[in-house]
Subunit: 595 residues, 2 copies
Amino acid sequence: MTSKVLSRRDLDFLLFEWLQSESLTSRDRFRHHSRETFDAFLELSQQLAERHFATHNAKSDREEPQFDGERVTLIPEIAAALAAFNKSGLFSGAMDEELGGFQLPNVIHRACFAWFQAANVATASYPMLTMANANLLIAHGSPAQIRTFVGPMIEGRFFGTMCLSEPQAGSSLADVAMRAVPSSDGTFRLYGNKMWISGGDHELSDNIVHLVLARVAGTQRGVKGLSLFIVPKFLVDEDGSLGERNDVVLAGLNHKMGYRGTTNAVLNFGEGAHTPQGSSGAVGYLLGEQNHGLDYMFHMMNEARIGVGVGAVSLGYTGYLHAVDYARGRLQGRPVGAKDPAAPQVPIVQHADVRRMLLASKAYVEGGMALVLYSARLLDEQQTASTYDARSRAGLLLDVLTPIVKSWPSQWCLVANDHAIQIHGGYGYTREYPVEQFYRDNRLNAIHEGTHGIQAQDLLGRKVIMHGGAGLRLLVQAVCETVNKATGDLAALGEQLQQALTRIVRITESLWATGDPATALANAATYLDAVGHIVIAWMWLEQAIVAAGKEGDFYAGKRAAASYFFTHELPRIEPQLDLLASIDVSLLTMSEAWL
Amino acid sequence: MTSKVLSRRDLDFLLFEWLQSESLTSRDRFRHHSRETFDAFLELSQQLAERHFATHNAKSDREEPQFDGERVTLIPEIAAALAAFNKSGLFSGAMDEELGGFQLPNVIHRACFAWFQAANVATASYPMLTMANANLLIAHGSPAQIRTFVGPMIEGRFFGTMCLSEPQAGSSLADVAMRAVPSSDGTFRLYGNKMWISGGDHELSDNIVHLVLARVAGTQRGVKGLSLFIVPKFLVDEDGSLGERNDVVLAGLNHKMGYRGTTNAVLNFGEGAHTPQGSSGAVGYLLGEQNHGLDYMFHMMNEARIGVGVGAVSLGYTGYLHAVDYARGRLQGRPVGAKDPAAPQVPIVQHADVRRMLLASKAYVEGGMALVLYSARLLDEQQTASTYDARSRAGLLLDVLTPIVKSWPSQWCLVANDHAIQIHGGYGYTREYPVEQFYRDNRLNAIHEGTHGIQAQDLLGRKVIMHGGAGLRLLVQAVCETVNKATGDLAALGEQLQQALTRIVRITESLWATGDPATALANAATYLDAVGHIVIAWMWLEQAIVAAGKEGDFYAGKRAAASYFFTHELPRIEPQLDLLASIDVSLLTMSEAWL
């Protein structure tokens, strides 16, 4: 039976036929790997995801986490699934062997993890956050911190969170007010509240390691005064055993439209519910240097943003597969022009409008999957390419692409989920079918880890202009390399892409030539939308090049979806580019009293 | 305090400044009315909607209808709200005085009812369906049928439904299989199942009057063999008192993503749960002539489609008002370029991206409201204009616009709900705020009463070509009249609209010049989208003309939203028109194996 979670065939195409991931095994870090070990991890992921994650996806939506004022109760299937995940070794799949990891390439590890996100995005978010937390600690923590906290994470005993937002500081991290007071023993004591903390409390693990942005008393305002602290739910003794309860306490759970299996918490720090080591405040350990907290946090945030993008793709993808399956089986109506009402009804996949929604969805989810895996492949290049130059170029391109990886799937793979509902008709609107949950779950992705608007500011206000525009130049160069490979039937697509690219470069320049950031950024979201579609068109041209001349439905489908993207989707950006080129400031000059 | 349900100021603008509804009082049917009576009904509607409908909107979502196998239980607030509605006289507000109605113009009555739909679309759907049911009976029922069933509806004792879909016949009404067997007493006995029946069972009323499409045994297949039957839940005796239980039985309730306060039912007819008058089958009374059932049903369906459009607008509108209110109050971040982190945070309404979403939402919901009220005004013209010619022209234009009235708000006012979530950030994704419910509720509107795809087929496959293209010509003429009035600053908008109109006419011709309906209709949904945006641009140009030269924020807001629609929205259709003009058949020629 074909899986409705993800398509292994497509992953194989993307990972091996396109991204040549097997070639990574020639690099030292991956020398113990082979196509066989990659396949084994992919196969294992599919099995575990289908058996342990997909099976409670509906139930964890129906029976959301409960908080009785003392404890958080989750359905038992979540703990069982996470135990199976931890046992598999996938948690440390991409980590160093010396930490007990398998040193899988990121691109393979991301593809593996996508199975879990597609099967149950809410349950998968616990390890997703914990992995990102561990990777930050590995990158910036002291050896003792890594030993104390990362080791137990790899063993599945500790989970992790990221604590940035506060009630008065959501998108505006400059306003984080959590206070950190130095203590005579070298630790800090934290006081304040954090909000929207995914996985913020539960009893799935022995301990929860919060990474908390806070401001050391007396330091400057703004983001430059933020430091990062490790604040465990339970203190950890020298020997690694759990000690006292720390003063970080769940104030309440948020009740969400979707993504319900993930607890989302308001946490109080240092309000006196506990007095660890006999005095007030939540005990926190400074990570790295004071006032560099946001830089460190970006290590986790960038990984989480890509994780959100993969989650959005995965939700769209599973919705698409459910819709294809339904459309092949559901009989309804007859072809246009069929006059005989006695003729049998046909599967709805034969109706042009249903095909439109399916082909669009295919273009969104397979295009999105290509982008997220390409980005993971860039991370491998950044970490293991043979030259410094190649490593920094990969890192820079990944930086430029990150806001698109986060945002484009959150917007367009949600449209795939919307189409999946529509294709199911009335059934799709009921909770008896899973597609409405995918839609509700996916709606979160444009909000958390930096909203769509924040990503737009990041792309236009930072990424395309940093280092004198080097990031944008690199993107252009990468796309041009693809365009140059697009010959024969594909030359026209290449030309269309080249034109869009040339225009966006000119527009970027003219926006910043205004000299006024407010003017340049007034239509940043439109800019993000346009660049996003250009990037996905690039991903489709890449796939079409690989599929060219190959026989069989799979490759024909790739060519059809690429063609669809260039005829139905890429042209959408023309009016967006016109608007950007006009340097429209009506959003700035309008009065709020007009609303 | 400004209402967050709807804007009375905007309704006054649309009804009186623009649509000149007061002038209707010079017509005989409305001679007892005046601006004062119109205002009184509008005021009453707002009060009742805010006091009795909005107040249980969240609760009726949280505590959805329960069916224990015998009875359906709803929260008591629904019955209380409907009792208040019925007592108000609004149910028969637009009906004839001889039936006990108030002979309000449809345009006023629609505006009144929009308050209820915005406050609680699910509770409002009971009277919406019952009014449409009553209007069908009044138009096509016998005097006895009207007396027996419509009278008690006006008194609030009977509610009504429309029963079209069956498990194997959703969009494909040609496949309706419900059997109707003539009985010796002149009634019929019905056997079969109906599905997706809104208000299909409950104990809100003494009786439920189902209007059921069925096929008299032995008649032809297809839609031309459908007849329409009145099938009450309880038979009604000669004297109007309730008699035996009819054999129409609730099989189960659907559990929906939203719109939860409206029961949605699978109904079994004639399966022997009851044996009315001692023999098998559900007793049904033929309405009008045999085999004309679908024609009659369209009387109700067209009204329901417009009702769906108003509901979609209303949900988007209330979402927009909540978002504006939130954006004015929520402090977060600082203007672009502000360097001082000690400066106070600003309301998010000052951020360009938030303004973009708010202004877009305003353009969607006020544009949508203009369209639905314009359509209701057309119904008044169709019913009461002084010449036959004027009446038929209004009817024809309403016919052409109906698929757009149904579809455009279902698509774009849902985007307003999406923006409302985004503007609320994480809060918008929680059930503590109402905007996520509006979004879930509104998602139904592109599905029921004919899906988006069905509306697209109706517009391109029927409405624009009927009577030799008279409908499209009439639409063009109406838009051109507006364009001709657009002078001065507005001339450029008029020209932009004129160009779009000219193009769509040429494209319509070239699509049908292919001679192949399948080819013409291959991109029907894109056609619907493009025509929809043209129609809303027309509605905005109309509003801009009325607002021109007037002082104050309200009129400035109208001009800003009109301008926004022409700069940010109308240009979206260019690539759609290009696609249509290319007569792309890729959706027809593709193989389903490529998906």
